[in-house]
Symmetry: C2
Subunit: 168 residues, 2 copies
């Protein structure tokens, strides 16, 4: 429901009706719409699968994992949260907190550079920009591009950010 | 009004009231809400100011121009359109058409590589990701970063995309 009509226009009444339950039991289980939304868009960034001993592998895992996850499900919790976060401060706060708490410090710890957190944040933002223009905005040149062509062009750039000594 | 409450929740009635005019004269001048929105978020990508003879200067102009424009006005027509495009197909269509028609072919023509359009599209998407996480989502590590630090890290990456022969 949040994916279809957005956070603002989704109502607990309509969600309850679609789930074929009483509105009162939705409220009993989840409380407010904000709490229900928080549960609905819950996802964990699979950092244990992304981070490898070798920074090159970490970069590959991150870039390929992000593009593959969006291709597999354009209405994943992550995608719905990102889309919603642009127009709802509630959703923006959830996304901001999750990325900062789950992703940034862990990814930054793998980077040997003084501006490690900024580098990790920029890599995440770049990738979010690409997947959102490919899968949400459906920019024709990105939507129809081969995923391998995107990986070939983007992976070296992310590598420059996350593994600044790789070219030395 | 579109910036404050979003495209879906803005009404011609409220816009007319805020402008202290009759609803009927808004309709007479602009037609539908969609047409009024299209006028309100009109902006031209200043490509004549961005594209230089030298690809390095073009990249610098593009990256610095985009970051500076968002810093100067987080509610610029471009910013409101991008934000809205994530949850409104009307707005997504306007943004998609404008970027594809105005930016892509012209920027791609400056790139000497077979995948010039994809390179231009990826550069635009990366930059959109960074400015939207800095100014719309307000990710703390990006919001509080010095613009010069972002430029120092990002400009060489965009240059690799737009001027692939620069390192040769």
């Amino acid at each position: 429901m949040f994916a279809e009509v957005g956070y603002e226009r989704a109502t607990i009444r309509a969600i309850a009706a679609a789930a074929d339950v009483d509105k009162s039991s939705v409220i009993q289980h989840f409380g407010t719409k904000q709490e229900l939304f928080r549960e609905a868009v819950h996802w964990d960034i699979p950092l244990a699968e992304i981070i490898a001993d070798d920074p090159t592998t970490t970069t590959d895992n991150l870039v390929r994992g992000m593009l593959a996850a969006w291709a597999a499900d354009p209405n994943s919790p992550m995608a719905v949260l990102l889309r919603t976060s642009m127009t709802s401060e509630d959703a923006a706060e959830i996304l901001r907190t999750r990325i900062t708490a789950q992703y940034l410090a862990t990814m930054a710890a793998t980077i040997e550079a003084p501006d490690a957190r900024l580098r990790a944040a920029l890599a995440g933002a770049m990738l979010m920009g690409i997947v959102s223009q490919r899968h949400i905005l459906k920019m024709p040149d990105l939507e129809h591009a081969d995923i391998e062509d995107i990986l070939r062009l983007i992976t070296p750039l992310v590598s420059t950010l996350l593994d600044p000594h790789s070219g030395e």
